[in-house]
Amino acid sequence: MVTFIYFNYMITENNNSFLRIEREDLQGLIEALAESGYRVIGPTVRDGAIVYDEVEKLDDLPAGWTDEQQPGSYRLKRRDDRALFGFNVGPHSWKKFLHPPNLRLFQAKRNDKGFEISNDNQPAPDLVFLGVRACELHAIAIQDKVFINGPYVDSVYGERREKAFVVAVNCGQAGGTCFCTSMKTGPRAESGFDIALTEVIETDQHYFVAEAGSERGVEILEKTRTRKADESEKKKAVEIVEFAASRMGRNLDTTGIKELLYRNHDHPRWEDVASRCLTCANCTMACPTCFCTTVEDTTDLTGDHAERWRRWDSCFTTDFSYIHGGSMRVSVKSRYRQWMTHKLAAWIDQFGTSGCVGCGRCITWCPAGIDITEEAAAIRKNELQRENKEQQDGNA
């Protein structure tokens, strides 16, 4: 029996003291976590992108790298400093550690009575997520609603989620496809972390302002070399995030967006975006909240052993909605519309929150550069014109 307690993060006066950690002492934080039995996962440079993988030392982090992002474009560039978190988000999200892309649901073996089914789920690994951005904290909170707050609980997700130690990092810059301020998900990490860091770089100093968000966060910080942050350091940390907030690459007007999309099911813009969409499913794979899966069944050559696997799936395939006789969403238009309407509208009805956190991954990683903020704006703009026209007609 697993008891799920997730939101044991607490911000109290006592814990809410801000600490200063020198850049080089962040190594000590990683070691303290490793000594507590965690495997630390953090950003690292691989194949020309910043991805999430195991990190053991500061050198594993993308020191001195930044990313330049635009619709359909992602480039790493050198920074002129030694920033460890001087970038935004890459193609990976933490969902691959909480909601595995491939998961064996069970094995079945033939026996004299027919067959038997067993589940060999391994215990969840103890992972640290180092460098979780505010938008990603919100993405995790959204997946919590999907997987553990409903009538049925995904126990694999639940166990991994419960164990994960979250080290958030506030953003000091905004990417070209970022719009977290529109979605009210950033750039400051407000809750849902064990420790939150803000990286401060000045000509003569380079340090982190740290704050604990949970008891275990406090414990780890106690094992790390720190000193109390003074007022100017705390102020600096706040200003850095405010700067990032002022530099959003994109904007999405969410006013009445649910009703807007529901009533524009037949908007001509869907045809327009369908002419550009390749239905490659990149957006759904890169999205930190997309949760759809399919199942696959296999048997070995003897036919005595079968397995059932769960894999990430995408609503951009025709198979996704197939029932005997055919697919429910044959046109590209209907599949893009399903994805975007689900993300920005239906999600609100289903889970009480938007499914979008404004991280911009779907824009950056779309090979056709389709921009969800632009598509939403196009529908809103045309609709506004129609309403204005009706108004004019009414006045005439």
């Binding site: 089914i117 789920n121 009538p151 949760f291 759809c292 899966t293 996704f320």
Partner: protein, 280 residues
């Protein structure tokens, strides 16, 4: 906590061929709780049936909810899994998880006339309702079953339909799209919507339950509305691709609804907007 994706093992106690492509299996759970070999379920709910190595299929329960000895499913062999299920025989085992989904409004219908409109295999998920209504007949007003099938040989549960038709306390009308010479058929021909004028019900006091192809449901609703039935008195059972049956895989979405956990039975006014949108 039990993993909701893990099936339990059930054995086929009986296998009956219903029509050329439809069959019924009675299952028993030899390891059921409290010695119960059947399953507690509500009319309209479904199970995920797992066939070794082939996969799962969502199949509605077609048996009597009062029968605690067997779990009955009627399956139409149209896909990979269901075709493979059709080849099973008495004594074979399959995996079952469930029951899932929303029930038909048999409780809300108490005191009302009940009109059931079924098409093709759509009679299967409604059969538990009919068993329930017969068992508690005094609680309901007029009960009418209108059933449409492709041809006389495609009629599901024919003997039972004839038995129900013989009762004095329910009206049963069946119709086929067409009938060939030599197919014993003394019933009606024509579409199921054509039977609606013959059904006796009080539009202000009627609960309607419809299950069949979406097109048939659409036309049935139009006919009912012409006769003064309100949208909130109509209930439909929807079908979409389902993988998990517990609202986690995303496949069965219909607008904001997950068919598996919010449905499959919906009050029509609650899904009206999605029902009329294309490719939603």
């Amino acid at each position: 906590m039990n993993d909701p994706m893990m099936p339990s093992i059930w054995r086929i106690k009986n296998y009956r061929t219903e029509t050329a492509d439809t069959f019924t299996i009675d299952l028993v759970n030899e390891h059921g709780q409290d010695g119960m070999t059947g399953m507690h379920f509500q009319p309209g709910q479904f199970n995920m049936l797992y066939l070794f190595g082939a996969g799962e299929s969502a199949i509605s329960i077609s048996g009597d909810p009062r029968n605690k000895d067997v779990l009955t499913h009627t399956v139409r062999a149209v896909g990979t899994v269901t075709r493979a299920l059709a080849r099973l025989k008495r004594g074979d085992v399959i995996g079952v998880r469930g029951p899932y989904g929303s029930p038909w409004p048999v409780v809300e219908a108490i005191g009302n006339d009940v009109l059931i409109v079924a098409g093709g295999i759509g009679l299967a998920p409604l059969r538990p309702v009919i068993y329930h209504l017969i068992a508690e007949r005094e609680k309901y007003g007029k009960v009418t079953l209108l059933y449409g099938a492709r041809s006389p040989v495609d009629i599901l549960f024919r003997q039972e339909l004839e038995k129900w038709r013989g009762r004095f306390d329910m009206q049963v009308e069946a119709t086929v799209d067409n009938a060939r010479q030599g197919q014993t058929w003394h019933g009606n021909a024509g579409v199921v919507t054509g039977l609606i004028p013959r059904a006796g019900f009080d539009p202000s006091q009627t609960t309607v339950m419809i299950c069949g192809p979406e097109l048939m449901m659409r036309f049935t609703i139009i006919e009912l509305q012409k006769r003064g039935i309100e949208e909130d008195a109509i209930h439909v059972s929807m079908e979409r691709n389902m993988k998990c049956a517990i609202g986690l895989c995303g496949h069965c979405q219909l607008g904001p609804e997950f068919i598996c956990k919010n449905g499959p039975v919906f009050r029509f006014d609650r899904i009206r907007d999605s029902f009329r949108k294309r490719e939603i």
